[in-house]
Each structure stands twice: as structure tokens, then as C-alpha cells.
Amino acid sequence: MHVLLIEDNPDDEALTLRALKKHNISNNIVVTRDGSDALDYLFGKGQYDKRNTSHQPKVILLDLNLPRINGLEVLKHIRADERTRRVPVVILTTSTEEQDITASYELGANSYIRKMVDFDSFSDAIHQLGCYWLALNQTARPSLPDTPDGGYTPESREPMVSETS
């Protein structure tokens, strides 16, 4: 059981890891620094070609504003592939643009966390959402119906927004 964090900003990465760690979600966190790297990891390409892709993360924390391949593009690939389409994806972003939020949900994001300047709030949100999706994934995954078109059901799409403003 592991978490994949896709984040280009080292500060944010450090702080996110710290927040996860603080809430005891520190084991097996894989970090990729850009979209391309993340996709290589997920699908066992490039430097990850030895990886067993049958083991996929329990939760993916995805920053939207990424170099090379941006977050929404990454999300699209995750949802398009049989191996990854059921993995919960939590969007982490500084963006408050309405269109970003809408686009994320349309592409199959499960939650959306706004990265606030106030770190306390951000930390809380990480904790809550991380725990929620990890727990849900453990218990719910075997029973998730194998829908032909997308893989995640309306229940799993139920948005959980934690916005600390």
C-alpha cells in the first residue's frame, strides 16, 4: 500500500510529506516531480520499466500546475488506462479558477484540495482526505463494479472538497 505524490515544487513536496507524516501516512510515499515522470511510474516506462504495474498506488495526490505534462493531462491518462482508472486521485492546487475545478471533476478527480497559504488548514485537509481515500480504497475496492466505460462509479466520483479559506 503506497501513496503517489506528483508535485514539482520542492517546498510544497516537503510540506505535504510533513503533513502526511504528521498524520502517520509516511510509509511508501512515492514522489514524482512532473507529469511525464508520474506517467512513466504508473505505467512502468522509462526509468520505471522494471516496476510491476499491477501494484498501483492507493491514492494519487496530483498537483495541477506541472511542467511538461500538466496535471489535467496526467489525470486523463490515469483514467484512460485499465490499470489505474480505479485509483482515487486527489487534486492539490493553488488554483481557485472555477474552470480548473470543473475540468478536474469532469476528468474523474475524486477530491480537490486548495493549497492555502495558511499551512495549518492545508495540513488538516491533507490528513482528512488522505485518510478518507485510503480507508475507502481498502474497504471499497473489491466491491467496486467493473463498469465498462470509465471504471469509477458515481459513488466514487462523489466530490469531497476540502477548501480551507
Binding site: L15, T94, S95, T96, E97
Partner: protein, 760 residues
């Protein structure tokens, strides 16, 4: 002797008898029974026959009777001789001596008691009787002929109204074959039995009164169902003593005549009615100057009734004060001359008071002889009105034409003088018109170009075929284009051309007028505008990406500052001196404040750029939601809320929510030092328009700074007093302005503030 005496006496008597017989004017013949020779013949017989006694003595009766031979005569005598009959009577002819014959009745008698038996014949001359009889028969025949020939039906009845006779026509009416069949019948047994009671009542009346009833009308139904109208007369029949013993009747079938009469009456009525429809007064005057007929209009105009007018002399109606000698109507009428006379309203012989036209027509019979005079009076008032109207229209039209002509002249003058170039060309492209504007634009004088081809104005090598333009003009009437043209100096310029058709009076295309504008300057400006627009677009785009990057990239380092400060606080709190901990706190505070500033900046930019979604918005509900949230976040506050229900305005709900959040947030914030804080929301009318307001009883502000309220980053309080970014009211202002409304505030230091806004 006695016997002798007796004989003597007898002889005396016998002589006298003989003498009487002989002298009798009756014809008496005595002839011998044996020889049949005449013995004695009276004087009357001798006179009638023309024989003398001597001549007759040798003759027998058969000599006198050419129709009877002696055999037959003897047969007449036989019953007398045998004593079977005392008298034999027969009729035959006697022939006179001159051969003429006359009818006779012969009465024969036998006298055997005489010494020599004799026959005595008394002859009665029937000539006169026969003649009377003949005349009577003839008269009867004639009468029957008359009765049967006349069209009048004749019948006679007895006192019980039983028919005694009739003529042939009557019999035919009664469906009888001959007049005799009527005898003994009554009216109940005849085809007109439905009228029997009526007829019999009439009979009775005539017979009882003894007075005839002449020429009255009555109905009669025939066997074929026809209903006829009869004209009947009945007279009582009297016997020699003058006693009424029956009734004689006659009738004529006047059905057709009656129908014709009725049709004629109807035709007359119809004609009268038709005449009454005319608005013209119509009268018919007899040759002896009497009104025979008149129509309704005549009665209406004169005020006379039909009784007063018919038979009246028209002159007396026309000239109640006595006839005038020179009246044209009267003289034309009396002269029996067809004519038409127009009299104006003020003519002395025109009593109508209106202009009239009088038509006089002589009605003639088939021989052309005048019979009556028709006078038609036509009121010309309406016609005069129409004429006047027409005249007015014509005058008006002439006026308009004059005005229009002047206008056209002026237009032509204006066209010549206007600044813009107007060039006229004919169908071949030859210049026919060149105004002052064209002189200025192209540099050619009118004289230089009139008659030249329009090609002159196009740059060399780019001679537009005039044909193209013409085709457009022919189909659509106008042609608009932009092109390059050449001035006299050879300089080319951008021109906007609009050409329109020039038609002649018969709407035939005869050329075009071209209106030319030098658009060099305009084109240059458009180019500049386009460049500016592009620059603006890219600037906007840059601004947008700038906002985006602000939201992402500016916040990231702040988050790092805050996050790592927190990490320091959490992980190294023991080794940090008190002052260091305080500094960390200050770092975090500053970072978070800057985060708010960025958020607010982003919001104000969003507010400015968002497209408005107009719909009815219940502001009261929004206010309740916002205050409820605030209560939840800051439950320590004790605030009285006064929220008017259902203030509904048109607008963009999410933007209005942001505005209210800021206004109520301010009220919340600036009342936090009050123990009895009160925030009020509602709507009131100001100068007839609805105005929304948010009022608080907080610290208020000095109205001196009211104009700085809605400017971004302008704050009236220090951060120490009240936290804030200075963006809130600027955002409110933006939102209200974008809705087309107004926002303003009223306040007093220490007593609170009230923010008003309107939403049209």
C-alpha cells in the same frame, strides 16, 4: 099552307143564310157529294182564288189542291160518308187562278140531309199564320244563336234556384254536353258546389227584392280546380202579371282581365317604388299642365302630399307668387321641348336653394305625338362638392409640384456645392456631371472632364471595366465598393464608392451617379484601431495569465514561508527564545496577510471579468445565509440582526453574494467593539426607486473620506484597529457598477455606517 108557310119561312131563312154564306169573307165551299162539283162558294173564297162562281161550278176541290189527287181526296171523304167521323181536318195548299198557292186548313163536313147530299168545306187561309209561325221560329233560332255565340254565360232558374235553362257556354262551364241537361239541376250538383250557397243567396236576394243586381264580382271554382273571377248580373224574371217566377243570370269570366289589372297595378307600384329610390325629384305632367305622377323626392322637396300635388299645375308650385314670364323651366315645359337647364342656388326661378339641373323630356306615343312631359330635378350640391374637392386637390398638387421643383433645384445646388464628390456618368461611362466636391477631390475642373471616360479616374493599368458596375446597377440599383483612384496629380488614394442608378422619366436607366469618399484617413485610423485592439487583447490575455500565475506562483512561496515557520515552531520550539517564537509568529502573520491580499486581488479581477447571469435574486435569503455562517465562525459575538424579508432584485446571484459578504463582513467587523451591536438589511424607496441598504451601529467613519471608500487598497482604519486588505468595498463597488447600479454610504464616527446600493 102551313107547310108552305113553313116552307116559305124556311125559304126566307135559307135565302138569308145563303146570302150570309155567299157574302162571307171566310172561304166556305159547298160541293156536290156525288159529282164533287162546287155548288156554292163564299165571296171570301172567290176573292182569294180569283175565280168566278161560273168558273168554279165546273171545278171540283181537287182542282184547287195541287198537292192532293182525287184518290187521296176521296179517302178524306170516306169516313164522312160512312158516318165514322163528323169532321175531317187537314192542311194543304190552294192554288189560285193565277197559279199562286196559299196554305190552308180544310175542315170538311158531310150534309146528307139536303135534297142532294153535299160536302161543306170551310177553308181557313193559313198564309198569315204560317208567316207568323216562320217569323217566330226564325226569331227563336236567332235568339238561340245569339245565346250560344256570345261569350257571356246565360242561365235562368226558378224560385227554388233550380235551373230552367242556359246557353251553350254556360253548359260547357258546367261540364254538360248540351244546355238541355241543365234543366232540373241546382248549383250543389255542379262543379262550383263550394260557391252554391253564395250563388243561391244572391238569387234569393234578387228574387225577393225584385231588384236586379248588376256587374258584381264573384268567384267560381271549376272541375279542373281553377278559381275564376266572374262579373255577374242577375235580374228577376216576371210573368205577364208581373209576378217574379225566377231569376235570369249572366256572367263573364274576367279572371285574365283581373289578373292583367292586378299585374298592371303591381307594375305601377313597382315603378313608383323604383322612382322613389331616385334622389332626383321626378314628375310627369300632362299636356294640359297637370301633375300626373310624382316620386318621393318630389314630395320631400316640396313638402306637398300626393293629394295636394296630383292634378296641380306645376307652375303654381314653382311660382307660388304667380307665374313669371321668363322662367326657363316653365317656358320649356309649355313649349314641349326637350331641354336641360342648370340653375344655381341663387337663381330667382330656383326655389330649392341648391344648385340643380333640370331635365325636361317630352314623352311621345308611337306616332310621335307628345303625350306627357317628364321633369327631373337633379341636386348638384354633391357634384359641386366633388368638383370643389377635385379643384382643391389639383391646386394642392400644383403647389406640391412647385415646392418639389424648388426643392429639387435646391438639392441640385446642394449636390453641386457639397464637399463630397458626386460624379454622373452615362451608360457608356462618359462623365455627364461633376460637382465642386469632385473638383476638389480629383483636382479636375468640370470643363476638363465632362464628356471624358470615367476610366480617367482609375490608376493606370487598373482600368476597371465600367461594365461590371453597370451590371450591378441594373440588377440591384446600387453598387458599393472600395478601390484606389487617381487624382489629376497622379497621386492614388483609397476611395469608397457608392453608385446608384439614374433613371429617366420613363424609369429607364440612363446612367449612374457615383458618390466618392476619400477614405485614406479613415483606413489609416482603422488600421491603428485594429493594432490597438490587438494590443489590448494581448494585454488582457497577459493580465489573465498574470492573475493565474499570481494565484499559483505568488502563493507557493508564501505557503512555504508559512509552512516552514510552522515546522520551526513545531519542531524547534524548545530551542527558540521567546523573541524568536514571536518573530516566527510575525512571519506567519505577514505571509497569511499577503495570502489574503492575493485572494482579494484575484477576486476583484474575477468580478470584473465574469459574465453576468441575470436572474431574480432574493437578497434577504443571501443575507441570512451569510450572517448564519458568520455566527457559526464567531459565536462569541452578540449581534442583533434585522433582516427584511424577501427583498428580491434582478442580478447575478454569486456576484451579489460576494458584495453582501463584503458589506456584512464590514458591518460585522466594525461593530466588534460594541456590546449591543446591530446589523440591519432592507430595502426602502428613495425618490420613488428601491434602494437596498446594510446598516450597522459600529464605529462608522468620517464622511470626509467617503469618496475613498470604494477605491482599492484605501483603508480608513489602521490594521491594528481593524484588520483588512482595503479590497472589500472596491469589490462591492465593482459588482454594483457592473450591474448598472449605484453604491454610496452615510456614516458618522462612533455612531455607525449605512451602505446603500441600487440595482436597476
Amino acid at each position: 099552307m102551313k107547310k108552305r108557310d113553313n116552307e116559305q119561312a124556311g125559304t126566307d131563312l135559307s135565302f138569308r143564310w145563303n146570302r150570309i154564306l155567299e157574302n162571307s169573307f171566310n172561304e166556305i165551299y159547298v160541293f156536290d157529294a156525288d159529282s164533287l162539283n162546287f155548288i156554292q162558294v163564299s165571296k171570301g173564297a172567290l176573292n182569294n182564288l180569283g175565280y168566278s162562281m161560273q168558273e168554279l161550278a165546273s171545278l171540283t176541290p181537287t182542282h184547287l189542291k195541287p198537292e192532293i189527287d182525287s184518290q187521296t181526296f176521296l179517302a178524306f171523304l170516306e169516313p164522312l160518308l160512312s158516318g165514322e167521323q163528323k169532321l175531317v181536318v187537314f192542311e194543304t195548299l190552294h192554288q189560285r187562278k193565277d197559279g199562286s198557292c196559299y196554305p190552308v186548313e180544310v175542315r170538311l163536313q158531310y150534309a146528307p140531309e139536303e135534297a142532294t147530299p153535299v160536302f161543306i168545306a170551310i177553308i181557313h187561309d193559313l198564309t198569315e199564320y204560317k208567316q207568323t209561325l216562320n217569323t217566330l221560329t226564325e226569331t227563336r233560332r236567332m235568339l238561340q244563336l245569339v245565346l250560344d255565340s256570345i261569350p257571356v254565360r246565360v242561365f235562368w232558374k226558378d224560385m227554388e234556384s233550380v235551373y230552367l235553362g242556359c246557353n251553350r257556354q254556360f253548359a260547357a262551364d258546367a261540364d254538360l254536353n248540351s244546355p238541355e241537361q241543365i234543366i232540373g239541376l241546382n248549383d250543389f250538383e255542379l262543379p262550383w258546389n263550394t260557391q252554391a250557397d253564395l250563388y243561391r243567396a244572391d238569387d234569393k236576394k234578387v228574387m225577393e227584392s225584385g231588384q236586379p243586381r248588376i256587374n258584381y264580382e264573384e268567384p267560381q271554382t271549376r272541375s279542373d280546380g281553377a278559381n275564376l273571377i266572374l262579373r255577374t248580373s242577375k235580374i228577376p224574371l216576371r210573368d205577364v202579371a208581373g209576378k217574379v217566377f225566377g231569376v235570369l243570370g249572366c256572367y263573364e269570366d274576367i279572371t285574365e282581365q283581373k289578373h292583367a289589372e292586378q299585374a298592371l297595378i303591381k307594375a305601377h307600384q313597382e315603378w313608383d317604388q323604383a322612382m322613389d329610390y331616385f334622389e332626383d325629384s321626378i314628375i310627369l305632367v300632362s299636356l294640359d299642365e297637370r301633375i300626373i305622377r310624382a316620386n318621393k323626392t318630389f314630395y320631400e322637396l316640396t313638402g306637398l302630399t300626393q293629394k295636394q300635388a296630383i292634378g296641380q299645375d306645376p307652375t303654381s308650385i314653382l311660382h307660388p307668387q304667380g307665374e313669371k314670364e321668363d322662367c326657363p323651366i316653365c317656358s320649356a315645359r309649355k313649349a314641349h321641348k326637350d331641354s336641360r337647364i342648370t340653375l344655381e342656388a341663387d337663381h330667382p326661378d330656383n326655389p330649392s336653394g341648391r344648385p340643380v339641373e333640370i331635365t325636361i323630356r317630352v314623352i311621345r306615343n308611337t306616332d310621335g305625338k307628345p303625350q306627357s312631359i317628364l321633369i327631373v330635378t337633379h341636386d348638384l350640391t354633391r357634384q359641386r362638392e366633388i368638383e370643389n374637392e377635385l379643384r382643391r386637390h389639383r391646386d394642392h398638387l400644383e403647389e406640391q409640384v412647385t415646392e418639389r421643383t424648388i426643392e429639387l433645384h435646391q438639392q441640385a445646388k446642394i449636390i453641386d456645392q457639397i464637399n463630397d464628390s458626386v460624379v454622373g456618368t452615362d451608360l457608356e461611362g462618359k462623365i455627364t456631371f461633376w460637382n465642386q466636391g469632385a473638383e476638389r477631390l480629383f483636382g479636375y475642373l468640370s470643363d476638363e472632364v465632362i464628356g471624358q471616360s470615367i476610366v480617367l479616374l482609375y490608376p493606370a493599368g487598373k482600368n476597371r471595366d465600367n461594365h461590371d458596375i453597370m451590371e450591378h446597377i441594373r440588377t440591384s440599383g446600387v453598387y458599393v465598393m472600395e478601390t484606389r483612384l487617381t487624382r489629376k496629380t497622379g497621386e492614388n488614394f483609397d476611395a469608397h464608392i457608392s453608385a446608384s442608378a439614374d433613371y429617366d422619366g420613363k424609369h429607364q436607366l440612363k446612367g449612374i451617379y457615383t458618390y466618392t469618399l476619400d477614405i485614406t484617413e479613415r483606413k489609416r485610423m482603422i488600421e491603428a484601431l485594429k493594432r490597438d485592439q490587438t494590443a489590448l487583447k494581448s494585454a488582457n490575455q497577459e493580465l489573465k495569465s498574470f492573475s493565474y500565475s499570481v494565484s499559483h506562483d505568488l502563493r507557493a512561496p508564501l505557503r512555504a514561508i508559512d509552512g516552514f515557520s510552522l515546522a520551526l515552531q513545531e519542531d524547534y520550539i524548545e530551542i527558540l527564545p521567546g523573541e524568536g517564537r514571536h518573530y516566527l509568529q510575525r512571519i506567519r502573520g505577514a505571509a497569511q496577510h499577503m495570502g489574503h491580499l492575493i485572494d482579494n486581488l484575484l477576486m476583484i479581477s474575477q468580478v470584473s471579468q465574469r459574465k453576468l447571469q441575470h436572474q431574480p435574486v432574493n437578497l434577504s435569503l443571501l443575507v441570512k445565509k451569510i450572517t448564519a455562517q458568520m455566527m457559526e465562525q464567531d459565536s462569541s459575538r452578540n449581534i442583533t440582526l434585522k433582516i427584511q424579508h424577501d427583498v428580491i432584485v434582478p442580478g447575478d446571484e454569486s456576484l451579489l453574494q460576494i458584495a453582501l459578504e463584503n458589506l456584512i463582513g464590514n458591518a460585522w467587523k466594525y461593530t466588534n467593539k460594541k456590546t449591543d451591536a446591530c446589523i440591519e438589511f432592507g430595502m426602502q424607496k428613495q425618490e420613488g426607486s428601491p434602494v437596498c441598504f446594510v446598516r450597522d451601529n459600529g464605529v462608522g467613519f468620517n464622511m470626509q473620506y467617503a469618496d475613498k471608500l470604494f477605491v482599492a487598497f484605501q483603508r480608513l482604519h489602521s490594521p491594528e484597529e481593524f484588520e483588512g486588505t482595503g479590497i472589500g468595498l472596491a469589490t462591492v463597488g465593482r459588482i454594483i457598477y457592473r450591474h448598472g447600479g449605484r453604491v454610496w454610504a452615510e456614516a458618522e464616527v462612533g455612531k455607525g455606517a449605512c451602505f446603500y446600493f441600487t440595482l436597476p
